[in-house]
Symmetry: C2
Subunit: 217 residues, 2 copies
Amino acid sequence: MKLYTSFGPNPAVVTAFLAEKRQALETVRLDITRAESGQPSFMQKNPAGTVPLLELDDGTYIAESLAICEYLDEVLPGPGSLIGDSAVARAQTRMWLRRLDLHIIQPSSYGRRYAEGIEFCKNFRQVIPQAANDFKLMAAQGIKWLDVQMGASKYICGDRVTLADILLYVFVEFGNVNGQPIDPSIPWLSRWRVLMAGHRLAKVLHCDLPSYAAAVA
Amino acid sequence: MKLYTSFGPNPAVVTAFLAEKRQALETVRLDITRAESGQPSFMQKNPAGTVPLLELDDGTYIAESLAICEYLDEVLPGPGSLIGDSAVARAQTRMWLRRLDLHIIQPSSYGRRYAEGIEFCKNFRQVIPQAANDFKLMAAQGIKWLDVQMGASKYICGDRVTLADILLYVFVEFGNVNGQPIDPSIPWLSRWRVLMAGHRLAKVLHCDLPSYAAAVA
């Protein structure tokens, strides 16, 4: 297998997932600031032009970070599943992945793409600058809603760390250096960030953040 | 198991999925126009206040239509998986689910909620009316992009019908009666809609569409 990756939160989700699985893959790093993912040679591999992209040994391509992580969770060895070890556990992880995505990750991404990231994003996506502030507000409200739901829970799905924690951690930390600073007064989020910072994934993620902040500045 | 449902596209995804699996569940139908899903008794079950919601026999709740479908696919008998029979097949279905969601379903939903659906949605969601037209345009462009990718493919993931087809079919048909009419000049979509109309899911879906169109009018 070969992983096409770059900087930014979506590739970082897969990188962080692999770190937490204690696994490594052969990696090809693209410079998306030079639009390498939009070149015909890459668009043949992934017509959506997005990284990360996983190339299987038989030439099959799997795009989209959450689909890649689900696949890697099934096929890689490692110290246990990061989705869940039973149908119910997997369902709860996927429910939370979806809630995070709808209430926090997508609004936060729209907020970034239509404001700080607009000069970069307008080259290859439709942008809606008049919606940027509303989406940032929606993401901030989503975080507050999550905080209430989590109460005393250790991780998002109870005592087990899952892809849901990885997804949220990556986007929250990237947002923090790029226009959506973390509100330190949110109690569950603050405790959970300390916990997550002790995981292996935090090391690979925090290596990437300074170069990300510089590239988007 | 017990399924809490209502009208509208998200509940219809699970209903259509069950029809295609040739399965039925005990169902509780909520009137979301009377905000029954926002009542404290329901919010205790699902603090996001959304339907569909699946109640398991041990009292566990699973929300979010895609998470519910993944769970039902794992635990129900039926004529084969609608996600995939191998890790690669499942990854391809999930990749397409994600692409559909990002490029078509979410933009289309925002377009509807912030325009035709705004009087209803503003009671329980933040709305961004100044973004409605741009999101409708984004969804329409997403459909055109998909059309090019599909070429001569029978279903979205080749010869097998999957949850990706169900998701797209439900949202396209609901959009068609509610402010996002289907462009009949799109070749793959037109062929695929004829094919999908012959599936069991189409019968349950089209029963729901007139009442939906009336309720949102």
